[in-house]
Amino acid sequence: MKTKTLDENLHLESIEQPGSGSKLLALLSFFALIFAAIPFFYLIKGAFSGELDLIKTVLLREKSLEIFATTIALMSCVSVVSTLLGVSLAWCLHNVNLRSNSLLAALVILPIAIPSYVYTYSWMSIIPNLQGFAAAVFILILTTTPYITLAALAALRRSDRAQLEVAQTLGLNKWRSFYFITWPQIRNTVSAGTLLVALYVLSDFGAVSLLGVDTFTRAIENLYRGSFDRGAAAILALVLVAISAILITIESNTRQRSKVISTSSKLMPSIAESNSGRSRFLASLLIGLYLIFALITPLLQLLLRFISALPSIDYGNLFRTALSTIFASLLGSIIALLLALPVGLLSSQASRIGSLTDKSLLIVHALPGIVMGLSLVAIGSELPIVYQTVALLAFSYALLFMAKAVGFVRTSFLRVPKNLMEISSTLNQSKAQSIRRVMIPLATPGLLTATLLVFLSAMKELPATLMLRPTGFETLATEMWSATAILQFNEAAPYALLLVLIAAIPAFLINRPDKSEESGVNIS
């Protein structure tokens, strides 16, 4: 940094050198990335230590091609359908006056609180022989649509009504005005949601194992547990990593091209406009059907089983388990936020390092939980002080879900109007002070959403929890799992039900439209 001392002792700076602040940020982001890379180091180590022969067998057998095809097909079907469904639901909720739009919106998002294995068990109770690819597509659509709906709804709320109204006066009908005007504005947010969905499908184990669909994750899990040679499993996991890297790259490339900035600086509130009887009927039908399949049926199932289990419920254990779950998940979400802050901040300042980190973190999303679990066992057991403590468990939640948090953190910071930061600097505030006093408070609603999302995901997490929890420490998910493992579905129900009820709270909070969306520049 060049300085020039003047008679008044004020130093001029050369702005070419990054200030110490952004160096600190880069360092912190780097650490966050290293932590997130733990499973990769584990996989690479495992891949090298494996037996070459077995690796060849695994990669070159016919089954591997089958697994590859099944996985890609599953991922594509689910992504496409859930995107269509999610966007349609969001559109209906935003544009069609259904009398209680905000309540319906909250209900439509609520299924985010239900883990995929709970869906599977509920629907298997209704259709006993539920098995196979189509069943998995069905269940995974139910599980993942809420993410798209959430993203699409948020994007619609930010979109520019003025353009839409002009389009309609020019004679464009609803479909065309959606396609030409609305879609370009919401596209980037929705595609980020679709990417998350695709990566989730890659990593899901619960549904596919119960429904007997051979995806990568299931094969990996089987290899880890069915054989004691870790090499082959690691190789498959690395293939999964490669697939997700490709997906992430595709998504970010299609994203660059459409950067739409809304022209009106004042956004009108989302009053649903369409009041025609036909629209209302169709919208109600769509939402109603969706709620029946995605919310009402599983909840009813759980409730029925819960009632059968009533006489034998151990309320003490239920309560304790719930507290443990909340504690570990909350801690995990706070750690996730702390790790995500430097990365999100850096990434929002259009720094190359930042956006690279951002994208690399997403790859973690596609990893099966067992990989995350074993890698942390490998490292964690070297540190007896933290091994099998709630601290490590919380930390593993943070690593698992940091990617989700970073995305939200980044967009929260991006939505803080740039001019406010400039104004703050003219008001005697250094960069750090401006960040602390202006950027963070304004980004807080988004940061809160990020935390809630991690909290929600941590509560539902299973495979890593099973391995990393302190002995004797159970979460609602693990209790549910051990009951269902021995087919005690009724006994599992209270835990499952409580899990859904508690997870519903963050789900509900995430969906509230926040004030900061009502002002400032809109960047897709």
Binding site: K2, K4, L6, D7, E8, L10, H11, L12, E13, S14, I15, E16, S265, N419, L420, E422, I423, S424, S425, T426, L427, N428, Q429, S430, K431, Q433, S434, R437, V438, P441, L442, K515, S516, S519
Partner: protein, 356 residues
């Protein structure tokens, strides 16, 4: 009270040279307006003064203090300048009082802060608004609070970026008058960027006219209005008409406004050229004496306080305009005599510069 001196400033944005070799002097305590068409670089200039942009060359001084030299800069938070942006720019998460006291140092006691806040609010005529939230305020109120916020830190200079642009016409005049009066009273050097020439002419002690990334002329409003150095400058500050002129003999020129004798310090060398006139310099009369220049009224634009007449002069059918105050009895189609009462501003046909 600080003066501003800018020497040879150049600024590049997106590999385009937005400001070129810009020079500007604003005496301390004066209210300066930077006037120019969109895209001329005035906002860039303001942001460079504020320190929000790093120049590629040149120097900026506040008083004797160098704040920018080539690409070495003093960061904005050390410059002690106030900045009032186009649309208020109030922090939405803070109350009015918190906004105003934002720049005040932590070491100051709450009591003192409150005092300053109240002082400032009273100054801008928004007493009692302490606990309101910025979203509740109208555009004009927001601008006033932004000003209070900027003044609260007793800045060396206040920079205003088209502060009245977003306001209704009716409000604009009142508020701009208030704000300008306030700033002048406080003796703070103020620099306002505007594209509205009326704003500039009314408020400023000094007007700097920008065109193509540089300051082409600066001076008092009268100077700049009456003695523009080029047609562009003239156009920036008011309406103009341009009339061809032919040299007849030394000191004798013929224009559509009849022969003109004028003495210029530098006699134009060319035989052909143009004369630049302001509409208010043309008088019309319904008495058509022999030998008078006549014109036919082709259009009347009535503004209430005056009217702008469009006329076609004599045989040449040269179009000129005349600004006439007071109620007028003229109708479109009338023939009137016209006369020119004002300085002769000569533009040579090669260059656009004016010789006076």
């Amino acid at each position: 009270m600080t003066s501003l001196e800018i020497n040879d400033l150049s600024v590049d944005l997106n590999s385009r040279r937005v400001l070129k070799n810009l020079n500007l002097q604003i005496p301390s305590g004066s209210f300066a307006a930077i006037l120019g068409p969109s895209g001329c670089g005035k906002t860039t200039l303001l942001r460079s003064i504020a320190g929000l942009i790093t120049p590629s060359g040149g120097a900026i001084r506040f008083g004797k203090q160098l704040v920018s030299v080539s690409s070495l800069v003093l960061p904005p938070h050390k410059r002690n300048i106030g900045y009032v942006p186009q649309e208020g720019g109030l922090f939405p998460h803070l109350s009015v009082a918190e906004n105003v006291s934002f720049s005040l140092a932590r070491k100051i006691s709450d009591q003192e802060k409150n005092q300053i806040v109240n002082e400032m609010l009273e100054l801008v005529g928004m007493k009692g608004f302490n606990d309101r939230s910025p979203q509740e305020l109208s555009g004009g109120q927001q601008t006033r609070i932004a000003l209070a916020r900027a003044l609260a830190m007793k800045p060396a200079m206040v920079l205003l970026d088209e502060p009245f642009a977003a306001l209704d016409q009716a409000l604009r005049v009142d508020i701009s008058e208030e704000v300008v009066a306030l700033l002048k009273k406080s003796g703070t050097t103020s620099i306002m960027v505007t594209h509205d020439r009326e704003d500039a002419l009314v408020s400023a002690d000094v007007i700097a006219l920008m065109h193509g990334g540089t300051v082409v002329q600066s001076g008092t409003p009268a100077q700049v209005y009456l003695n523009p150095i080029s047609a562009e400058v003239a156009l920036s500050t008011g309406d103009i008409d341009v009339i061809p002129a032919i040299k007849l003999a030394n000191s004798q020129y013929s224009t559509a406004l009849n022969e003109v004798n004028f003495n210029l310090a530098n006699q134009p060398a060319a035989n052909l050229g143009q004369i630049l006139i302001r509409p208010e310099e043309i008088a019309i009369s319904d008495e058509v004496t022999a030998g008078a220049v006549t014109a036919k009224i082709t259009k009347i634009n009535y503004y209430g306080h005056d009217a702008l007449f469009e006329l076609k002069v004599g045989q040449s059918l040269q179009s000129i305009r005349a600004r006439i105050t007071g109620p007028s009895q003229y109708r479109v189609g009338d023939t009137v005599s016209i006369s020119h009462n004002g300085p002769i501003r000569w533009i040579s046909s090669e260059a656009q510069e004016l010789n006076l």
